[in-house]
Symmetry: C2
DNA sequence: CTGAAAGCGCTAACAT
DNA sequence: ATGTTAGCGCTTTCAG
């Protein structure tokens, strides 16, 4: 029996008699045989693996997304190669040198701005890219509708009767932050509420674009220093910052829902603990979709680059003041 | 100039004149050339990538470890293939079918018990395995000294004057839990303190071996139901459970350091928020070491399988009662 | 020191 | 339907 035939059954080629097919299969099974992925890859010019470039710092978010990615990828018999970018400035250098080129059939960028020349090069190599948590008109993007989300969050606060609402932001350099601020503005406008510039603060920290507890803590202190003209409620651009803000509030001897209500964004694990009202992002599902999208491209889809927006969902807990009683028990664990 | 020569310079083969070497290098650079990893892998019988099998649920711990692994691996020019095991029962099936066999030079198992036949098979294939956060006499293992850690934690509580100390455990099926309980016992013994069996509770939950907030919450309620014979301090086998325990304490209208002190284990991110005193595990460093160990094996080390223990470090915050004042500011962010 | 040729394990095109 | 053969892109003898 020729080696070619074996190859055929392994690749489900039609021209193989059922007899030989089963014979090959059983013998392969008995020998515990598996085709060598590299040899196959070389011959087929396909690696059956995709690269995920992630900023390692946004832990909870990216873990959830990756869970989704990996789960879909496993189903597709693809491997996930993880590449953590610690210093955003080194993205290109790193990805170049790593000769990730011929090693993967596609690449996923999470929460990262892709360098222009990188896009060009991968374009030339016909290696598709899909973005997660960022957006670009010329690439497939999977992201959350930040404007809408912030809008919803703000409306919630408004519906609770708040008038003096502030927004505590991370760095305005961050695209999601800009969008979230925009949503806030829209909602305030629509409600005919004044936006006091004093109450709209943002970070100029270079550390993680201001997505840190410290940033939330410091900015909240500023807000609190406003004294009687402080806001009665604030929207915070991320849960992690909200945690810092809550800290500042507590430290100032104030009570969270009563003296000042807060709504976060993300619904990271911590949020449940803090009983933080927030906008949930369907991270796992975003990961699954991203994997699907990259697959479509790999399989030759020529559709124009598409947006794949997800709508964040308002999770009402206690920091907004809408629910003041304690629960009997903690919320159920996320399904693992 | 022959293809062979090119190959030689790429592999730093000595027999190449500096003249041709630089010539090849510059031209390669100009063409933006990179050797094809699969072709190279096929020829050299080496993939230059390692597999990390991780249980996706233990998020924070594994992210940190992986950060370490990846950082070292990148340095070694190795790729990291991530495989998330959601259902522990499927480990072998999954890894078999994935034909991970010839695809990686080594495998890392995080927080997981490796199936026996898996070990045998990889042994036969000469693909080295190293364990992280678990132990096996016949494999290299990188882990934390749980006995010592629990001992230290318990001693801390004892030094604070506590006599009625309890321990709240996850499932006794978990190796780390057993070890932590052992450390607790030793410390109590050495101090001549009685261990009230009522105060040593453990979970029989099958969900994540009881490493959940709910588990901590429920077990703490049991402890609290003891009324006046309740412990004045408890050691909890993990931070995540400690968070649930704190919840139960609060819900019962009790105050944490005052009515009952608690010390956790792990130092997950959450711990800072909760101001939880806990035992820190050097997760990143464990990852780095694991990567180094696997590299040694790949490079043919024949040393007998070795233990690589790390000693956990006591992090004193407020739930133990040793520091009662609030901080001026939150602790600095972990370096990312 | 360098060129030529065989081979890594598989796929795909071409015969039969 | 199946056997044969020529690559896939690189490494590695073996000559020279």
């Amino acid at each position: 029996m020729g080696i070619g035939t074996v190859s055929r059954v392994l690749n489900n080629h039609p021209n193989v008699s059922l007899a030989t097919r089963t014979r090959v299969l059983t013998i392969a099974n008995r020998l515990n045989w598996q085709p060598h992925p590299y040899a196959r890859g070389l011959a087929k010019q396909k690696t059956n693996s995709i690269l995920a470039a992630v900023p390692f710092y946004s832990t909870y978010f990216f873990v959830e997304v990756l869970r989704g990615v990996q789960s879909k990828l496993a189903e597709m018999e693809y491997d996930l190669i993880l590449y953590g970018i610690n210093d955003p400035h080194h993205i290109e250098e790193v990805l170049k040198k790593k000769s990730m080129r011929m090693r993967v059939d596609g690449v996923l960028f999470l929460s990262m701005t892709v360098p222009e020349n990188f896009v060009e090069e991968y374009n030339r190599l016909k290696i598709p890219i899909v973005l997660v948590d960022t957006k670009r008109k010329d690439l497939d993007s999977v992201y959350v509708e930040n404007v809408k989300g912030a809008h919803t969050a703000t409306n919630h606060l408004i519906s609770l009767g708040h008038k003096r609402i502030g927004m505590l932001n991370a760095s305005m350099r961050s695209q999601p932050v800009q969008e979230r601020l925009e949503g806030f503005r829209q909602a305030m406008d629509e409600a005919g509420l004044e936006i006091d510039p004093q109450l709209t603060v943002s970070s100029n920290s270079t550390i993680l674009d201001g997505f840190t507890r410290e940033c939330g803590y410091e900015l909240m202190k500023e807000l609190l220093n406003l004294g009687s003209s402080r806001p009665t409620a604030i929207l915070v651009s991320s849960d992690i910052q909200a945690s810092g803000a809550l800290w500042a509030i507590e430290e100032a001897g104030l009570k969270c829902p009563d003296d000042i209500a807060v709504v976060g964004f993300d619904d990271i694990e911590l949020a449940r603990h803090l009983r933080l009202t927030t906008m949930r992002q369907p991270m796992f599902d975003m990961g699954v979709l991203a994997a699907r999208k990259i697959e479509e491209r790999i399989n030759g889809s020529q559709l124009p680059p598409a947006d794949n927006p997800f709508v964040p969902e308002l999770v009402i807990r206690e920091t907004c003041g809408a629910r003041r009683e304690h629960h009997e028990a903690p919320e159920p664990e996320m399904t693992a």
